[in-house]
Symmetry: C2
Subunit: 360 residues, 2 copies
């Protein structure tokens, strides 16, 4: 039961990220945040059946009284309806501004519970307890919360930093294979955008990662969180560099929206999206074709799709045109200037984008 | 066309409050915030018919391109449905993170448009252009935004400060009489909680205020905004003193919720609520009975109801039990220690509250 603790440095909104095995049972990690408080655990039925009882016992040991709110599972439920049901339960339970919300689950639970915490009574404290690889390496860190709108993914949300992130790596043992791969997409993203040495390591350990080797996964989570924490500390509200964390996501969000939320997992769409972004980077002369091929090879080695689904060119452009990074009608893309070095690019010709998505 | 400018001191979120006649035509007040930007004006049909054209011309002179989004009028529409429709229009218009939202209207428009600005793409800039007295003296200043939940008023929202408040006092000329009185409730609230001299002035000028004497209204707005700006600067997120601005509101919110949103105007409910809070203050020995009677007399002189509607005692307690100020199941009330001095009180016996509402 060892663990490592990283820190997200954001002044008076700084917080720890605890990573390790068996952390769901470690009352001392929760106590500073929940002692003498009421706690609302937001989760879903599948996660609850495995971990809710253990977490509630731990919270009790930490001096908190808790109750649970289960939301439906899956990206299709990352919407106002789920949020409204959470608000109703909080009100029925008499939750007040001191009540702590704990997000127990994957990215959908974390995003919705986080947005509920950001807006219930204009903001209550919350903790992230991510139980999927994707949530542990990406969505639980950095304070982005959101729900989807019928017209666009993550279009309604808030920046609301958690009090702490508690990532128990034991929860990954039961993760479905597709969700493991989806999390590895975000892991390798950090290599592509910021750390060529980490990319080399991922490539060398792809088989161990896919086989859930505990020490490989543990290192991958820690290095991913280190990179994310550094980027978030530099640019909390994405006025600049934080946008590089969106590598592969402009194409990925278009895939998710075009196919219907939940058909493709977010990480799968990001996997195929990174391949397209790398091809576009090569087509624009930013990286060599061999680099783009290496991106494709590593993505495939992690068990992810490299070919985007069939989407009409106009649909691609419509969905990409709604990306939050865009300004004044121009699509903003994250491209690569090298493996390990991302660039925020606002002037990609539409014809170049058309060519890449037509060929996909 | 003179104006005065106050400031809300909140570090890098500081902003000006411009108050005066004819300000809707003053492009130089808008230009620093909207030049070269797209602007989404959120308003309702009644306000739009009077002021939208003028504001759009002014915004154009200020170098902005604008479009309008009309929401339905009234407290009953301060809900997710209105918000969702605003998001849909913003997305259809291709609004991005640089788009500025302008709230043109009363408290409902300001609260909903402000919450839309707080959460659209995780936050975009916004301007408050209040056109009712209540919005000019209270809801447009301080960054509180919210929608109602079926189970409680203002239960879902965010703190999101505007870039500026532009209060054109000319808009008060056409305000319905009930809405004028509703605004005066918030004006006299500042006297009750923080400024005995202002209370004396209001009492002496009640007739002029009700008759819309321009110079009396102008002074009342300025002094109200000064007091509110000082309180907000001291406690932006209501962790302490800001709660005194809620004087009369715990009873008032219960009236609004029990009668159905929109039956009683917010300011009317606050008027009757302040009378109850003053009576409770006297019953608790905090102020003299004569002080409580003076509160009732001034509230009546401003054209406001002093008698609460018939609500069963249990309903009173249920609704008051859902107030956002409450902690650990105890009702938090704002009472008076003197006329001009409010106190935050967490230990009022339930029996004392029952007695006051039973007699109402």
């Amino acid at each position: 039961m060892s663990n490592e603790t990283l820190h997200v440095a954001l002044g008076d909104r700084s917080y720890p990220i605890h990573i390790g095995a068996g952390l769901l049972a470690r009352a001392e990690l929760f106590a500073p945040h929940v002692r003498s408080r009421r706690v609302a655990i937001v989760t879903n039925a599948a996660v609850a059946s495995r971990y809710e009882r253990r977490l509630r016992q731990t919270l009790e040991s930490a001096g908190a009284k808790s109750f649970s709110i289960a939301m439906p599972d899956g990206e299709a439920h990352k919407d106002w309806k789920s949020l409204d049901a959470i608000f109703a339960r909080l009100l029925e339970e008499g939750a007040d501004r001191k009540t702590v919300i704990v997000a127990l689950g994957g990215g959908v639970v974390g995003d919705v519970a986080g947005f509920a915490a950001a807006t219930y009574q204009r903001g209550v404290p919350f903790l992230q307890v991510p139980t999927t690889l994707l949530a542990q390496v990406d969505s639980s860190v950095g304070g982005k919360t959101a729900i989807n709108h019928a017209l666009g993914k993550n279009m309604v949300g808030a920046f609301h930093q958690p009090l702490a992130v508690v990532a128990d790596t034991d929860t990954l043992a039961t993760l479905p294979e597709r969700e493991l791969a989806a999390g590895l997409a975000e892991v390798v993203k950090y290599g592509f955008i910021a750390d060529a040495a980490f990319l080399d390591w991922i490539e060398a350990h792809a088989a161990q990662l896919v086989a859930r080797d505990a020490s490989a996964l543990s290192y991958a989570i820690r290095r991913s969180c280190e990179i994310k924490a550094a980027v978030v500390a530099e640019d909390e509200r994405e006025s600049g560099v934080r946008a590089i964390l969106n590598f592969g996501h402009t194409f990925g969000h278009a895939i998710e929206a075009a196919m219907g939320y939940g058909e493709w997992l977010h990480g799968e769409a990001v996997g195929a999206g990174m391949v397209l972004a790398a091809r576009l980077s090569a087509a624009q002369g930013r990286i060599a074709n061999s680099d783009a091929l290496r991106v494709e090879r590593v993505v495939a080695a992690l068990g992810l799709p490299v070919a985007a689904p069939a989407i009409g060119v106009e649909d691609w452009l419509t969905h990409m045109g709604r990306d939050k990074k865009n300004e004044e009608g121009r699509v903003t893309l994250i491209l690569l200037d090298a493996l390990g070095k991302a660039a925020i690019v606002r002037d990609t010709p539409a014809a170049a984008i058309r060519k890449i998505v037509s060929a996909s």
